[in-house]
Amino acid sequence: MKYHSNYTAHVIKIDIEKCIGCKKCYHTCHMDVIRFDDKSKKAFAKYPEECCTCNWCEIICPVKAIEVIPRNPWRMPVAFPKEFYPKSYIEK
């Protein structure tokens, strides 16, 4: 079995100085990336691995406190693995 843990997740930067705790990003995230800390009353990115870079949290934030930074290429299965496509897809 192969392991893939050494990849980088997308980064969701939330400026907690700007965050007003309105929870809009928490509700808008359909991948459960963003959670809300009840103590500090601020949002934080708990599961960036699940981010699908739809940017909807960034769009919806009323104080522009969020920036989604995609890390591409994303963790995808290789379409043409070298072991099955020996002759090509190796750039000259």
């Binding site: 079995m1 192969k2 392991y3 893939h4 843990s5 809009k24 509700h27 808008t28 995230c29 359909h30 991948m31 459960d32 959670r35 708990k46 599961y47 691995e49 699940e50 699908c52 870079t53 739809c54 940017n55 909807w56 960034e58 769009i59 989604v68 930074i69 995609p70 890390r71 591409n72 290429p73 994303w74 963790r75 995808m76 299965p77 290789v78 379409a79 043409f80 693995p81 099955f84 496509y85 002759k87 090509s88 897809y89 750039e91």
Partner: protein, 568 residues
């Protein structure tokens, strides 16, 4: 942790809708408008109406077959070019007529459909049989507001896992709160699955489609249909992740040959599987990589996709798309300037079998939207959505909601209070939390990745043969066998991922099982070992059903005698 799991939240309603996307919300609103005394509850893994999933995926584009288009021509074009006679022609007719009702409903709810200056719905000249209009991407917020005003209840951040049954009748569902971990039990007289399709977590914008409702329906005993069609692809640039819809006429191999000249017809309405098989063939023959010629994007491209998205005044959509493209430029890896194109697996298993009221084969259970598009017979020989008709994903979600609401509401009205089986509730609870006992073990995300490597690559998903289907099934069974050793690490979010993995593995198993059985090639089902279309033996639908943990295969004949259009 154990204490939390002892807390049980119980909900009761006349109608339970699982999934708060466009299908779930439109259905809920229609039911409540039809009979305001009905108690309607929507449960969603994220937040009903506020989560941006579908709005993004569908880009707000809507297919409509308006009054000035000929419905017969629309059906005939689809049968010949897209569905290859595997469609339910009566349902397609209903879809076409109901799409007009959807436009009226949306506009009544304050969601304008984009029109030309003369007031007609927008369309594209190269796609003469239907209109391609659009709504702005705030439409879900508007639907959410109306649902709130109508008193529709919503339970959020709750992942449903199993459908509850009693005496072969659906009586609700169970799941857990992904934040607190609390067990949630939903009791209802009528249950509607609106949980979307299965996309196996591959393509970024389609990541939320985990097939949870399809897997739950199957485990509960509902029949599935057309499961072999779950391999839709787009063309994408891996260096930057952008999807190039309609790019099949601007792809070149290393020798400078245009792929569409060899592998697809002119003016296809959307991606033909030939172009993806061609991409793979060229790479196999040493003519890769395949390069996308941006300057030719709009040549011979019926969709003219970029232009389509920006032709209207849609502030939310513009913000969304410009932002995405801006990030593409800013953050893509260094080789973005080399426009190397690859097939991008989208998937789209939508196989829950339904009748024309979207009722499944289980009493008290309906399935709408992407959950049942293929299973209802709407897509034909291609995965849906979009089933090679852009804009038909959002439209089908709304149409199927309109097709179901009256039947659901009437059933809920006359049914006695649902009775849930306490033994089943306890058994599901045990099963749902069982993975938490594995405190240290394999990583769930790694195993999801292993599953993607089985389902997505072209040699398994596009170009099939018996050996490779066997290989894929073996790999899926290996993942299923090691499920007990995969740990959610005492985290309810990861418990959700664990159940997603289980569901997606089951969906993969169902897809390859059906694909093995269909010993012909038709539309997007291509078998190297059976390369011809076989109308004599295969004008029938493959039906899958859970038979005590084994997949039982049977067939529904397509009632071709009753249909207007027959294969030549």
């Amino acid at each position: 942790m154990a204490n939390v799991e002892n807390i049980e939240q119980q909900y009761s309603s006349d109608i339970l809708i699982i999934g708060g996307g466009i299908a779930g919300l439109v259905a809920a609103i229609k039911m409540k408008e039809y009979d305001s005394t009905l108690d309607v509850l929507i449960v969603d893994k994220a937040t009903t109406g506020l989560s941006g999933s579908k709005a993004n995926k569908g880009a707000g584009v809507l297919q409509v077959i308006p009054e000035n288009k000929d419905v017969d021509e629309f059906i005939e074009y689809n049968l010949k070019n897209i569905g290859h006679y595997l469609n339910d022609q009566d349902l397609m007719r209903k879809y076409a007529y109901t799409s007009r009702e959807v436009v009226k409903d949306l506009e009544r709810w304050g969601i304008p459909c984009m029109r030309e200056e003369d007031g007609s719905l927008s369309g594209l000249e190269a796609l003469p049989h239907w209109c391609l209009t659009a709504i702005d991407l705030d439409f879900m917020f508007k639907l959410h507001k109306i649902a709130n005003q109508l008193g529709i209840k919503m339970v959020n951040k709750t992942q449903t896992v199993e459908v509850l049954t009693n005496d072969n009748r659906a009586v609700g569902c169970v799941g857990f709160n992904i934040i607190s971990g609390e067990y949630a039990v939903f009791k209802a007289k009528a249950t509607v699955l609106a949980t979307g399709s299965c996309n196996w977590d591959v393509a970024h914008m389609w990541r939320s489609g985990r097939g949870d409702g399809i897997a739950a329906a199957y485990r509960a005993g509902a029949e599935l249909r057309n499961a072999e069609y779950a391999n839709f692809h787009n063309v994408f640039l891996p260096a930057g992740m952008s999807v190039q819809v309609g790019s099949q006429y601007s792809l070149y191999n290393k020798k400078g040959e245009r792929l569409s000249d060899k592998y697809c017809k002119e003016n296809e309405c959307d991606f033909d599987i030939g172009i993806f098989l061609g991409m793979e063939k060229e790479v196999m023959e040493g003519n890769g990589p395949i390069v996308w010629e941006e300057s030719e994007f709009f040549n011979n491209n019926p969709l003219a996709a970029g232009g389509l998205l920006f032709k209207w005044n849609r502030p939310w959509a513009d913000n969304f798309h410009w932002r995405e493209m801006g990030k593409e430029e800013k953050y893509s890896s260094d080789n973005r300037w080399k426009p190397i194109a690859e097939p991008l697996f989208i998937g789209e298993l939508s196989a829950v079998k339904t009748d024309h009221n979207m009722k499944t084969t289980i009493e008290g259970l309906w399935a709408i939207g992407d959950t049942s598009r293929g299973g209802a017979g709407m897509s034909g020989a291609v995965a849906g959505p979009p089933a090679r008709m852009r804009g038909s994903g959002l439209m089908w979600a709304a149409v199927s909601s309109l097709l179901c609401y009256e039947d659901v509401a009437k059933t809920a009205k006359v049914s006695a209070e649902a009775e849930i089986d306490a033994v089943q509730v306890a058994k599901f609870k045990e099963e749902i939390y069982a993975p938490m006992k594995c405190e240290k073990g394999l990583d769930v995300r790694d195993n999801i990745h292993n599953l993607k490597e089985t389902v997505a690559p072209p040699r398994f998903s596009l170009r099939k043969n018996a050996d490779r289907i066997d290989e894929a099934l073996d790999m899926i069974h290996e993942i299923q066998n090691r499920l007990p050793t995969i740990s959610p690490q005492n985290d309810y979010h990861l418990l959700g991922q664990w159940h997603d993995l289980k569901n997606m593995a089951l969906c993969g198993e169902l897809v390859f099982t059906a694909a093995m059985d269909r010993t012909e090639s038709r539309g997007w089902h291509v078998r190297e070992d059976y390369p011809e279309r076989d109308d004599k033996n295969w004008l029938k639908w493959i039906v899958l059903k859970n038979d005590n943990g084994k997949i039982a295969i049977s067939y529904d004949d397509i009632p071709m005698d009753q249909y207007k259009f027959k294969p030549e």
